[in-house]
């Protein structure tokens, strides 16, 4: 049988906003992603097992991202998103995360774009492309060096699925792979987060 205790901890503690940068490859097509992560809520979960105490951090983060990729002969896509990340980190620093995001995308066609007027004259249209509403969901794994080596850095690998609307009256979808770093500055855009601690003790009843 399990028993659970909830405690609010350090209500006045401030956290720095994290900065992240990643290679944002839409499979083989290169891109870049930069952004911030703001901790909104952290639950420190202590599990006491026979093997000892295990600590798990359940973080909820608000993210802002500016991303791009370039698909040769197709388009270059620049998109800005905000997201809410669910991250679970164990006491060894390994984390998994799930990140839904929503935002705005602007594409630019990868090629000179022509328009023909009613008289049959052909001219070049500059910066041709489309505006889209963009949604993405991503899932990834990473390693947080601050948990074991006190280094303010994480590395991660994430797979995102991007959907853009309206594309030919439907959706445009594509996968994107992210490989990157999260840097945790000492004090950058400090903010408060809701902190709580939970513990689960295993009791044996005969």
């Amino acid at each position: 049988m399990n028993a659970q205790n909830d405690t609010l901890i350090n209500p006045n503690r401030s956290f720095s906003t994290n900065l992240k940068i990643s290679y944002n490859s839409s499979l083989i097509y290169p891109g870049l992603r930069i952004g911030t992560e703001t901790l909104i809520k952290r639950i420190e979960l202590s599990k006491i097992k026979k093997s000892g105490e295990k600590q798990i951090f359940r973080d909820r983060l608000f993210t802002t991202n500016l991303s791009m990729y370039h698909h040769k002969t197709f388009h270059t896509n620049i998109y800005a998103t905000v997201g809410y990340t669910f991250r679970r980190t164990n006491n060894k620093g390994v984390f998994i995360e799930f990140c839904p995001e929503i935002g705005y995308s602007r594409t630019f066609l990868s090629g000179t774009t022509y328009v023909v007027n009613d008289n049959g004259n052909v001219s070049v249209r500059k910066l041709a492309g489309y505006n889209y509403l963009l949604a993405s969901v991503g899932t990834g794994v990473g390693y947080d060096f601050s948990k074991t080596k006190s280094k303010p850095l994480s590395i991660f690998c994430k797979v995102n699925f991007i959907a853009m609307y309206p594309n030919n009256d439907f959706l445009y979808m594509r996968p994107a792979i992210e490989l990157g770093f999260v840097y945790k500055p000492h004090a950058f855009l400090l903010h408060k987060a809701k902190m709580s601690k939970k513990s689960k003790n295993r009791r044996h009843e005969n």
């Binding site: 083989i28 097509y29 870049l32 930069i34 500016l66 791009m68 370039h70 698909h71 040769k72 002969t73 197709f74 388009h75 270059t76 620049i78 594409t107 630019f108 066609l109 990868s110 090629g111 000179t112 774009t113 022509y114 328009v115 023909v116 049959g120 052909v122 070049v124 249209r125 500059k126 910066l127 041709a128 489309y130 505006n131 889209y132 309206p166 594309n167 030919n168 009256d169 439907f170 959706l171 445009y172 979808m173 594509r174």
Partner: protein, 349 residues
């Protein structure tokens, strides 16, 4: 924040350079541009020998298939060294992009798009370039619709009608006849008997005049039978999957999504109600029809309808004895196709 703005400015500068106009006259050319019309930006890839001052404009099938599948090793090795080939992705096909534009997915707009692609090719490369249209499968519809207007014929030098259709209801009749013929023939030969019995049963249950749904089913069955013959192999999808995605920077998800949207489009109903047989006598430019004996999707009889009804003085018709619907694909008869295309262009350029 400053970093973000700087990054955005650099990016705009970088991709802006991708949209610079680069026009190459020479051999081994490969350049992509887009033509924008009525809510769609349509990709055009020009490859091959632009110094020849001849462009073969491929009008792909579908609707909603893409031009990627035509850019195979046979086009590259047998046609492109002699002439340039323009691979055009029609609206809602391949790498073509757009917003809310399904209301423009109509045959008359696709014909207008075709005209604008030709005008753009001439504007880019020169008015002295000779353009030949090659309509495959559904591509027969926009090419026929374009060419039955006499004033449009001055823009092109010749029309290649390859396993194509210009009249869906007539197409249904010939498809039905051909399926019955092949079913009887193959059952008598003891080849894939169970599969052909199912085709025969399907055909026996459908009698003309065919409804729109029956027309759609006939098309599916005809495509299915391409896998039932020993005389050729239907490798287009496999060949495309192995060779094209990286080489051609294929926008894979775009191509699949556009195909899906096109198949659900009201255009299909409109096409079923459209025919160009009655206007073919307006066509006076050189014509070549080329078809495959084993093609039930767009049978040779359909090509013959075009051949017999145009007013062209210069016309020729060919049938490959070992090809299905995709004559230009590996496993069908691509060498035969390329040889006839090159010969036709050489005569009338």
């Amino acid at each position: 924040m400053r970093k973000n703005i700087l990054y955005l400015v650099i990016s705009i500068f970088l991709f802006g350079s991708c949209q610079n106009e680069n026009i190459t006259i020479g051999e081994g050319v490969s350049e992509t541009f887009y033509v924008q019309n009525k809510g769609a930006s349509m990709r055009v890839l020009v490859e091959g020998n632009t110094a020849s001052k001849v462009i073969l404009l491929v009008v792909h099938g579908g609707p909603g298939a893409s031009s990627y599948v035509y850019n195979n090793e046979y086009f590259s090795k047998l046609i492109e060294p002699k002439y340039a080939v323009a691979y055009w992705d029609q609206r809602i096909a391949g790498a073509s992009q757009g917003g809310s534009n399904l209301e423009n997915h109509k045959i008359e707009v696709i014909i207008e798009d075709l005209k604008e692609v030709i005008l753009t090719l001439k504007s880019r490369y020169g008015n002295d370039f000779s353009i030949f249209l090659c309509g495959h499968s559904f591509g027969g519809m926009p090419t026929a619709g374009f060419l039955v207007e006499p004033q449009n014929q001055d823009m092109v030098k010749g029309w290649i009608f390859a396993n194509a259709s210009h009249n869906y209801k007539l197409n249904d009749k010939y498809t039905h006849d051909k399926l019955v013929f092949f079913a009887n023939d193959q059952i008598n030969k003891g080849k894939k008997v169970e599969e052909w019995k199912a085709i025969k049963k399907f055909c026996d249950e459908k009698v003309p005049p065919f409804s729109f749904d029956q027309s759609f089913q006939l098309n599916i069955k005809a495509n299915q039978t391409l896998n039932y013959f020993d005389e050729f192999s239907n490798q287009s999808a496999i060949n495309f999957a192995i060779n094209s995605p990286l080489r051609d920077h294929v926008a894979l998800t775009s191509a699949f999504i556009n195909l899906y949207v096109s198949q659900k489009s009201p255009l299909n109903k409109q096409l079923w109600e459209t025919e160009y047989s009655s206007k073919l006598s307006n066509v006076k430019i050189p014509l070549m029809t080329i078809s495959g004996y084993f093609d039930s999707t767009c049978p040779t009889e359909l090509s013959n309808d075009v051949y017999l009804n145009v007013s062209s003085v210069n016309k020729e018709r060919w049938e490959s004895p070992k090809s299905g619907h995709n004559i230009m694909d590996k496993g069908n008869d691509p060498e035969f196709f390329c040889e006839k295309v090159n010969g036709f262009i050489a005569k009338y350029k």
